[in-house]
């Protein structure tokens, strides 16, 4: 059994992914670093944002100059939207690019914390699902909201580990574990992972994958951190599937207690 064979692929909306690590493409110091980090992370899907073309600056900034949608699956997001209406608008723009009908839905409720407006997210999810979108919905760690998003027909539910860009890691493993236990659709933890052990611990809760951006892009060495994250996600997944030893407050020797010399 080697690392590519200990696990099933991740299936979202009928599409199979070998890698359970999804990367954001924001905040890199330059595009070359971003490309190398994506490769080092062995990611098969990355998120992209929809923004106005800057008509006064170089056209280099369009990410399609750097990423080939035939090589890596692009997932447009609705980052920066504060209403269901706006999020629907951005989702439609993203789909019109002609790559896929997938969208990472996020409707933000507060500029300071970037926490989601769950009511608006559910509302937008319903609209988008009705229009045939494959909706991967960013949400907080509330089970009830996650259940509603699944009911709304989301292809995946994406609860946060902690606030976007905070690097605080998995603050509430109970809630994430419960969401995974109760939902049938894939659960991808999105936002808050800060370092490899956060990713590993998150995967150990049984979730199906992780989306991260800042942890890689703002590491001192993004490519090395991408390597770390690739291994951390595999490690956490394998450990979950392996079934860990019990925790115990008593010690138990690893070497035989018999056969000692007199």
């Amino acid at each position: 059994m080697n690392e590519t064979r200990f696990d099933e692929p991740l299936i979202i909306a009928g599409r199979a992914f070998r890698s359970r690590l999804i990367l954001g493409t924001g905040k890199y110091s330059d595009n070359a670093s971003m490309i190398r980090a994506i490769e080092a992370a062995d990611a098969e899907m990355v998120t992209v944002a929809v923004r106005r073309v800057d008509l006064d600056r170089t056209k280099e900034e369009g990410i399609l100059y750097h990423l080939d949608p035939d090589q890596i699956f692009l997932l447009p997001n609705t980052a920066g939207c504060y209403t269901a209406e706006d999020a629907v608008r951005y989702a439609r723009l993203g789909r019109a690019a002609g790559i896929s009908d997938w969208v990472k839905l996020e409707v933000i409720g507060d500029r300071e914390t970037l926490l989601p407006d769950v009511a608006a997210t559910i509302e937008a999810a319903r609209v988008l699902v009705a229009e045939g979108f494959k909706v991967l919905a960013y949400t907080n760690d509330d089970l009830i909201t996650a259940l509603r998003l699944e009911d709304a027909g989301c292809a995946a539910v994406m609860p946060l580990a902690s606030p976007i860009g905070s690097g605080l890691g998995l603050v509430n493993p109970y809630f994430i574990r419960e969401i995974k236990r109760r939902l049938s659709c894939p659960v991808i933890v999105d936002a808050g992972v800060g370092t490899a052990s956060d990713a590993c611990l998150t995967m150990e809760q049984g979730v199906d994958g992780i989306l991260m951006n800042t942890a890689v892009a703002e590491a001192e060495d993004p490519v090395r951190m991408a390597i770390a994250m690739r291994h951390a996600v595999i490690a956490g997944r394998a450990a979950f599937l392996a079934g860990r030893m019990p925790r115990r407050e008593v010690a138990v020797p690893s070497s035989p207690v018999t056969g000692m010399l007199a």
Partner: protein
């Protein structure tokens, strides 16, 4: 009759030579039609209709594309 019309392009007022289509306008801007999405008066304009859609006085055009984001 003036030879330019005034449109709102990505939020800014801009004078455009009368008679430009979305396709030629993008050309003028140096943008590849396959790499952008155009919203024309709040409706997404299918790429196949760029050539036939003439820009009109007062049009509101949004030209967007994918950028790095998480």
């Amino acid at each position: 009759m003036t030879t330019t019309i005034r449109v709102t392009l990505n939020g800014d007022a801009r004078d455009v030579v009368r008679g430009r289509t979305v396709e030629t306008l993008l050309e003028d801007l140096g943008l590849h039609p396959r790499l952008v999405v155009v919203e024309h008066n709040r409706q997404i304009l299918d790429r196949t209709r760029f050539a036939e859609t003439e820009v009109q006085e007062g049009d509101n055009l949004e030209v967007v594309h994918f950028v790095g984001g998480g």
